[in-house]
């Protein structure tokens, strides 16, 4: 699955995107965050405060309990601040 990052998350991770194959027990966005946090100290820190994170699957906003099955693009970013 392609992970894409924006704004503060992108800067904290030092990359725009990366690819991961999640293990079979990763079912939801929340599971994926837990697993990602184990991949590096940088991931652990960037994803620590869930209240400051928002998510999109295939470019649709979703909550942390959304199932990731079938999605090809998983975006993680801070609350939006446009306008």
């Amino acid at each position: 699955m392609k992970l894409v990052y924006f704004a503060r998350v992108r800067e904290a991770l030092g990359r725009n995107d990366e690819d991961f194959d999640f293990p079979a027990n990763v079912l939801t966005v929340g599971d994926a965050l837990d697993w990602l946090a184990t991949q590096s100290p940088l991931h652990a820190e960037a994803l620590a405060d869930r209240s400051k994170l928002r998510f999109a699957l295939d470019q649709r906003m979703v909550k942390a309990d959304a199932a990731i099955a079938g999605a090809s693009e998983f975006a993680i970013f801070p609350p939006v601040t446009g306008g």
Partner: protein
């Protein structure tokens, strides 16, 4: 008529309102957001999620057209770096009814602030920080759901 654009360059409000006036209805309203120089801010920089941004702006226009009788709905949002005083965003609507045109502009800008994937950095000279989402913006967008 729905028109959304995410662009680096400034927009032409006269061209946008002319297109809406050409829909043949009696009322056109606009809202323009401008970079404020509050608290020493000298510039801002906007990042967005290409593809998702345009889709979310179209969704917001669709929602406005469900709620009000609109002949046209336009959202133009700039990205990249902008100095204090530069326009950031234009929303504009055309309707047979003046209240619908003005109320739908309020809806569009409120909704855009919570739903569209833009992120804003503020520059104060060389210092830079990401803007935090305002709880007031969430509360304002929620009003339209009630």
């Amino acid at each position: 008529m729905i028109r959304v654009s995410v662009q680096r360059e400034a927009f032409d409000i006269a061209a946008e309102t002319s297109a809406l006036e050409a829909t043949g209805v009696g009322a056109v309203a606009t809202f323009t957001g401008i970079v404020r120089g509050d608290d020493g801010v000298t510039a801002i920089e906007l990042e967005h999620y290409p593809g998702m941004t345009e889709a979310s702006l179209r969704d917001i226009c669709d929602a406005a057209q469900e709620q009000w009788q609109l002949a046209g709905c336009t959202i133009i949002h700039r990205v990249g770096r902008m100095a204090v005083g530069e326009p950031i965003v234009l929303v504009a609507t055309a309707s047979p009814h003046r209240a619908a045109a003005l109320e739908s502009c309020a809806f569009l800008i409120d909704r855009l602030k919570t739903d569209a994937p833009f992120w804003k950095k503020e520059y104060r000279g060389d210092a830079v920080n990401w803007v935090e989402q305002k709880s007031g913006d969430i509360a304002r967008a929620d009003i339209w759901d009630s």
